[in-house]
Symmetry: C2
Subunit: 229 residues, 2 copies
């Protein structure tokens, strides 16, 4: 009897092809896509809620919410009038580029400057998948401990910014902020780290400033490239 053989196409190759199409589409429209990645409960949705409530003047934005099941996070954002679509992976632990591409094509990209993708809560797998983003943003809460960058380094190597969330809880934790920052620098010395509290709004401004700089580059890529030289 023949042994059962499963055959897959080159899934990663297909993913990168869709990511490439997304990058072209967004470049043509001058829209920046940010891929928020962090553990379950790291505070990704709360960060988006805080940006929705406090960012002024806010660029024209939309959110794509990635989840294994349920539309709970999308409903949270909808309550704040943030334009949001829900991407359900049906059990998969990360978003793939094809699903993101189709969801983006349903948005009115001509009216947008910025799209956040909130990836499935997972510090490992989503970092491996390009979805055509301008930048991956790592979201890490202080309640997860100081050493996560060392233990799950891929995301922090790939990310162009890190957001350290729930800083309002620091007085109640046995937490050495210095150790966390050292771990992040050890994995990626170029990584800007934004310390924020979605609960109090503290620290949001440097983060929105960084995002606004990326938006200006996206709208005028040639001049940004010229400046980088």
């Amino acid at each position: 009897m023949l042994r059962e053989i499963k055959v897959y196409r080159d899934l990663m190759g297909a993913n990168d092809e869709w990511a490439g199409r997304t990058r072209e589409l967004l470049a043509a429209k001058g829209v920046a896509l940010f891929n928020l990645i962090g553990s379950p409960g790291a505070g990704k949705t709360a960060l988006l809620e805080a940006l929705g409530a406090r960012w002024r003047p806010k660029p024209a934005w939309a959110v794509l919410e990635g989840d294994v099941e349920t539309t709970r996070d999308a409903e949270r954002l909808q309550r704040l009038d943030i334009p949001v679509s829900q991407l359900l992976t049906g059990g998969a632990c990360h978003l793939e580029a094809k699903l993101v591409h189709h969801a983006l094509k349903d948005l009115d990209l001509d009216a947008l400057e910025l799209v956040f993708v909130e990836n499935v809560g997972n510090l490992v797998c989503p970092a491996e998948f390009d979805i055509g983003e301008r930048a991956k943003i790592a979201v890490l809460s202080v309640t997860e401990g100081e050493d996560k960058a060392l233990k799950y380094p891929l995301l922090f190597r790939e990310a162009q910014a890190a957001v350290l969330t729930k800083t309002d809880l620091l007085p109640h934790l046995n937490y050495r902020l210095e150790s966390c920052l050292e771990a992040l620098a050890q994995v990626n010395a170029q990584l800007p780290v934004f310390q924020v509290s979605a609960a109090t709004g503290s620290g949001l401004e440097p983060l929105t400033g960084w995002i606004a700089d990326r938006l200006r580059e996206t709208k005028a890529p040639s001049s940004a490239q010229a400046r980088d030289r």
Copy 2:
């Protein structure tokens, strides 16, 4: 030109074969294996530290620490004289049964009653992989929010117990404990939930009692089965 085709064997089938071998081996030795699964920073290692420090009389135990990279968690346990081996997945987001099997065979199983596997920090993928455990134990911290059982239901459906950690932080959080317990019950009405604080030791006793009951069943499987009838 031929399109590149990647061919895999039935990986899940091979995993289940190794899990079956582990189950046979541990049944023959009367050793219970518990698979601790939770997000990065959910407090799995801290729970093991607290058990090491406070569980009296403690069964003869060992820990297998699963991580993507680094031996940091194993070192934490070694400092407390907890017998520990480190399993590195080399980037993979979960432990597979074969690696666990080989690590178990290197332990002196005749001298042990209990082995904990601390899986890679991940609320999604490890739940899909049988490693030959007696039970999966879901570890969820109160800082992750109330709705995680609904958003990541597979683990909580598969688990035979849940440990809700970091309860000492409840006074500082905007957290409805009732909502979390309702979400857990909605996903798995039979799931016992143990509320613990590794920092204070609060709530460990009901958990160790539950584990001790499972150990008694493992040592005398026929009588436990008779009792269940």
